[in-house]
Subunit: 344 residues, 3 copies
């Protein structure tokens, strides 16, 4: 719940009329109520927003109406996101459930909530952090302030989370990396030590069922402000920079480095020891070879193996053109059509 | 346990001889016992089925023997599957474990089972539903009749499941979608509100460790009868139609729409706002670009980017032919060979 | 903690000087202390290792120094891995937490640890096995000696694990396979029975959030010594040989067979009923068509669909060359660039 004046200050918007209105939440125009704040990106949307049940509207500069109070902002979508964050603040309860197993209560901060069946070794937890049911956090880990761990997150021993980190359900942080040494005499694999650590900096968000492995001997590190989607895999010794975005199901092999501000699509595969430079954009489904280096802020790479976008598009166009030529041969290999009845 | 007459009625088969036989289970021919029902797809398999320990055999019309009772059906495999379902019915126990944490017992139906360490907020549960150990279900969610939630399923607040929904272990339903607004001044990402909901209709099955996100402001919806394999990712605002099949590790980006009866292979990637029309078939590993529309019931699409199958096959054949030509150049880029010893 | 003489014996190395030194752990050179063992692969690294705080150094034959004791081994990295394994041995506690729900304590071996909120049906557990918080193991399963199940592993009914099996957090073993029969009259899918089993042989390691399904009517089997990374999917009836390595996010469809010693990269997709022969190497991101057979120990396959490496490289080179030719056409299809703001 926030007063409209306060919200305007918080999100850097200008209030169109002096009004004493309390807002409880942000909403879609379709289901807005009197305590809802909605947003429009263009003046064209104003009529629908006025017709809605919303109490107030975030709108671009130049929009004008007497029907409802406006919060004028040059970037209405960003202002809306900030308002949502502001309205969520201050809702943390103070509670440790009696069924939670906490080895070291003296390491817990103030204003935290630890829910049912959470199991924690000797772990320090900062003020305002919420740990939801069924999380398991091993000894020696450290969790910052105002974090949210959704249900059934697992954190192995000795992992460090900064402040305001959000981890979605089922994510696994700090498991052993995938490193083995093959015994040439027997063909057997013996695990190489996986006793490094994992450091997750402030403001990182980690998606559901994502896995991030600890370093082999050193550390794996996720930089401040980076956002990681569901079912992503990040291997041992990987270093991800600040404000990186990584979409769902991408996999990053050991020791690869990703620079600040890079944008990585979904289902991208990166070989080990690769480098994705600062600000580089990697298209969905691209495959980056081991030891490959991609550089250039704002440069887009795509394809398998990944190459500059214009080059990959040229190759796609060349193939399409040649296949259309009358002399192109044709054959009918069995393709990857899914068969839901297989395996029976 | 079911009488063979009853089973014949239930699965729409004709019993070859009047016999009073009780069947406990369906089995493979290799390990069938006297209470087992087996099936053959062609008359050629009859001898082996007779030689087995099975009590009765589902067989195609025209099959004849006096050795064992037959259930004659035009689609023996389908009849076998129906028999399995029938034999499983009526086995639900009635039980709420004392360690389960249930906020609102008055919302629970009859004939349900809630196992150890389940944590439920104010959640309504329909008759006959089974919730296995360690599930966490947040307040405001609703679960229909005769559902099965396997261990450690997480359901976020406000999610709706229909009747006869099966969710396998570790699946996460209704987590925040992956939507952020970048602050151009700082490069930081701020979460766009992810406060919509997720609706899973009747008869849907969801695989182990699959993740389906809630809508941003509206809903994500999975249509009646749709079957989803393991480790699938479905983003916010996606709408999947009825009787769709989605194989393992496929990822579907935000706001994409999939029509009724579509068949989606494994490891398919779909960009945001794409459309897969009714009855369309997408081959495994295909990549569908954002905003792309694929239409045509029974039409097969394959490749990255996905195109009609015949076109993609022609392109593959063209490349293979050109590479075989004596003038084709050759080089040896480092390829994606896995190195189990990397990262050390 | 191990005496250096004992470690030398265990890892097959020669101690350079008679010395009575106790070693607690293996370490990176950067953070080694007096109880640490480090390793160098070439004599060139000796100076840095001597300058470190390490108590002893594993080094290749021919290395010589009086500064610190050396363990001379023809394969220092393998020796280091063996030392790590040896030093970890013997640390298993003996403990069943009072909050663990164990249906059949009489089936538990000696020297085991069962942690908080574990739920086990009638399950036999071998000596020395550790089961961490929140695991759920259904009736009829069997777990060997000296296994480690990390937190929140789910094992369905009737699964068998051998000795020294390690399962990382969130993995799901023995869930129903993805097999349905379509009712042509209604378009609905009915589950085909998924009542086979899953057998995991000795010394297998399984990554975090990986899923391995049970057989439909027979078994799924993972051979001795095989190592499986995070977020891998293995379908019903699959048979994986011995000492196979499977990197992260690879998916294997039903009834596929993988021979001993094969090496499978990350994000590989295999169709159903495919065969990967003994010792075959499959590059990351490759796609193997249903029913395809790849053979030849040491042979490398890559691409979609997967073909011999030299052939795939020739095709890539051919495309690149043709696209560079001045007559190559060009177009600008919308590509798979990720948009973190989509779906709003």
């Amino acid at each position: 719940m926030g007063n409209l004046h306060l919200i305007a200050d918080e999100i850097g918007a200008t209030l169109s009329v002096p009004v004493n209105l309390w807002i409880a939440r942000v909403s879609a125009i379709a289901n807005a109520g009197p305590e809802s704040l909605v947003f429009i990106e263009k003046a064209a949307g104003l009529e629908a927003a006025i017709a809605s049940g919303a109490g107030a509207i975030i709108a671009p500069p130049g929009t004008a109406t007497n029907a409802k109070p406006l919060l004028l902002s040059a970037n209405p979508k960003l202002a809306f996101a900030r308002a949502a964050r502001f309205l969520k603040d201050g809702t943390h309860s103070v509670y440790v459930d009696p069924t939670a197993s906490v080895a070291a209560p003296e390491l817990l901060g103030r204003g935290i909530a630890i829910d049912q069946y959470v199991v924690m070794g000797r772990v320090s937890v900062g003020d305002g952090t919420v740990i939801k049911p069924g999380c398991a956090i091993a000894t020696g880990s450290s969790i910052g302030r105002d974090c949210v761990l959704h249900p059934r997150v697992t954190i192995y021993a000795g992992v460090t989370l900064g402040d305001r980190v959000v981890v979605h359900a089922g994510a696994v942080l700090g498991a052993d990396g995938f490193g083995y040494v093959r015994d040439p005499a027997t063909g057997e694999y013996i695990q190489f030590p996986q006793q490094g650590t994992l450091i997750v900096e402030d403001d990182v968000e980690i998606g559901a069922n994502t896995t991030i492995d600890r370093g082999a001997l050193e550390e794996t590190r996720i930089g401040k402000g980076t956002k990681i989607d569901n079912l992503v895999h990040i291997g041992h010794n990987v270093r991800v920079g600040r404000n990186v975005v990584i979409a769902a199901q991408t996999g990053i092999s050991g020791s690869t480095v990703i620079g600040d501000g890079a944008v990585i699509g979904g289902q991208v595969g990166m070989g080990d020891h690769a480098t994705v430079g600062q600000g580089v954009i990697v298209g969905s489904g691209a495959g980056i070879l081991p030891h490959k280096k991609l550089h250039g802020p704002g440069q887009v790479f795509w394809g398998v193996p990944a190459k500059p976008l214009h080059q990959h598009l040229k190759e796609l166009a060349t193939i399409a053109k040649l296949a259309k030529a009358p002399t192109a041969s044709q054959s009918e290999p069995r393709q990857g059509r899914p068969d839901p009845e297989e395996g029976k």
